[in-house]
Symmetry: C2
Subunit: 364 residues, 2 copies
């Protein structure tokens, strides 16, 4: 008998979290009142009211805000700006695999800075920076990092900003999970601390739903202009209907209400993940205890052959992502555990299957 596959793979939200009814009423109203704008070509920076709303929230001029079909696309555009030399970029290691792909496609020179269980290793970064030539960007996910679930502490945030001023690099702060905190208090974002040294990017994929494909980037106005030009030259403009939906959902106060529902739902699942790991994995690895976001980062205590692990897991009804995708080098013992899209029962079952897979491999 076929067993239901449990997926510890991508960071997707569960369909039950989508605010479908509200989106239906908003769409109807939008198309009735704004169809001549929303169904027409538009400006490549994106739908103006949503840009204005974000500019107001982040207290910046609106010409610093660009909207895209997700924020990853805008990162791609940023890297496509013509430069005399190939970019040199520091990334956290592990980091979001799709970003590594974007940077590799731009032929960037990448240097990894270790993520420990306390987050970004600031002193490693500082030593690295002292011993070499300048970098263009430092890419970080300071809040509930993908894939590790860690947080960058306030002192480190302040320190990398000081270093940015000295060494003249821009921090790219990717913050899609920042508003999904399940315990503790917000730490100021790097952008809040120093908006001129930081490119802040985020999206509504984890807050409203991914399918609308709406993300944004706040960057120096001259770079924003170049990113918007690349957008125009590639697809004229992103869909305003989708961006208007997000705008109305946010500005109408529905997003704030919705975040309360999401946090309750995801926190229950996070607790279930912690419990399952405590019950099953204590002898087999160490894991982070994220205070928000989508992921627990698990590091196995012994090296396993990752493709054998994935294959064996699959035969037990468990799909895993290859941990090496999150690293420049290494990652053989790393497993990303997304918990938001699974029920507590599925999480328990999934971790149980992971345990038995590892134990079965150790026997052979």
């Amino acid at each position: 008998m076929a067993i239901d596959m449990i997926k510890f793979t991508r960071g997707v939200p569960p369909p039950i979290s989508f605010p479908t009814e509200r989106l239906i009423s908003i769409t109807t109203d939008l198309l009735k009142n704004e169809s001549s704008t929303l169904l027409q070509y538009g400006n490549s920076y994106g739908y103006f009211p949503l840009r204005e709303m974000i500019a107001s929230q982040f207290q910046v001029d609106v010409d610093r805000v660009v909207l895209g079909q997700g924020s990853l696309q805008l990162l791609d555009h940023l890297l496509r700006i013509e430069k005399e030399k190939l970019p040199s970029i520091c990334i956290e290691e592990p980091t979001y695999d799709r970003t590594i792909t974007i940077f590799n496609r731009a032929k960037a020179k990448l240097t990894g800075i270790p993520i420990t269980s306390d987050g970004f290793d600031g002193s490693y970064f500082e030593k690295m920076l002292a011993g070499r030539k300048e970098i263009d960007y430092l890419y970080i996910i300071p809040d509930f990092q993908n894939p590790s679930g860690t947080i960058m502490d306030l002192d480190t945030r302040k320190r990398i900003i000081e270093l940015a001023k000295q060494h003249n690099y821009l921090i790219i702060e990717d913050s899609p999970y920042r508003r999904l905190r399940y315990e503790g208090e917000d730490i100021p974002s790097c952008f809040e601390i120093s908006p001129d040294n930081v490119i802040h990017m985020s999206s509504f994929s984890k807050l409203v739903c991914p399918g609308l494909r709406v993300g944004f980037m706040i960057l120096p106005a001259n770079l924003a202009k170049q990113v918007a030009k690349i957008a125009e030259d590639t697809y004229i403009n992103p869909s305003f209907l989708n961006q208007a939906l997000v705008f109305r959902f946010s500005s109408g106060g529905f997003l704030d209400e919705h975040l309360i529902i999401l946090k309750n739902l995801y926190n229950t699942r996070r607790q279930a993940m912690f419990q399952a790991l405590d019950d099953r994995m204590a002898d087999l690895g160490e894991w982070t205890k994220p205070k928000g976001g989508f992921f627990v980062g698990l590091t196995l205590s012994r090296k396993v052959e990752i493709s054998s692990l994935m294959k064996a897991a699959s035969s037990k009804g468990l799909q895993l992502t290859d941990g090496r995708g999150f690293f420049i080098h290494g990652g053989e013992t790393f497993i990303r555990l997304p918990f938001c899209a699974l029920t507590p029962a599925q999480i328990q079952q999934g971790i149980s299957r992971l345990q038995s897979t590892i134990l079965s491999l150790e026997k052979t």
Copy 2:
């Protein structure tokens, strides 16, 4: 007193052509029934039912069909596929300015093939091809060309396909206007004549509305896979909600009805453009008589300084596009006249302003 600006600039449809009421009812139904798919992440090839519909219309396997945020974006992706050498591409001259930008950004070596009032100059192309090394792509807009309004005749279509087989290049056939024919009978598309030598691209921007940003490309399966990979690595997937709207609008029979309305509306405007040109421009230039699409291509009989012309026109309440944007070299006497988004009265007024602008420049 300020006069209303008349714009002979971009090829945009008029908002009155948008099927707003129908889109409202379709969206409501879609979100009620498919939100778990449409609001979620999806496959980077695009929304499957729309891909299937297009595959069936074009009688190809579905794995040859990729959907994008407009078709231009897919052309960008095609050019981003890693190759050992920079691409060599023949284009019509004049051609769509945004395509020239895409090709230049890919550092393609471009060769222009003249468009005459009878369309693509096949014998020029054949001679050019005989005397030089191979090309990778021939990019054409055979039906109601942008910006000239011309048609490529059937013999030329057959000939460039024969040459494609001999010289091993792919034809990129861009056909956003093909279904907007106001007189005469369809000529088989290059894709219909020989689907293995042709990449066919089109969009729903001119048939439903631009704002949904839905276009498609049909290409050899191995290239489709690479284009979809670039899409995935850039924005994961295009918005399925928008693509599902187009699918339901088309598969429900509403598109066929809508095309009848559009053709009536646009044909009236085309006739008004012809009349205005006959009345005002007979001594000043020559123009094409397009049987479909969005544009009349006007060539002035004397060279004018294009930036002076644009400036003088603007002061008379007429906005023009710089004709040089449609050419690799030259284009100083070329004016693209889009007629679909203007009323007959605006068209008449616009051509009257163009006439008086040119006459005033000749006097100085």
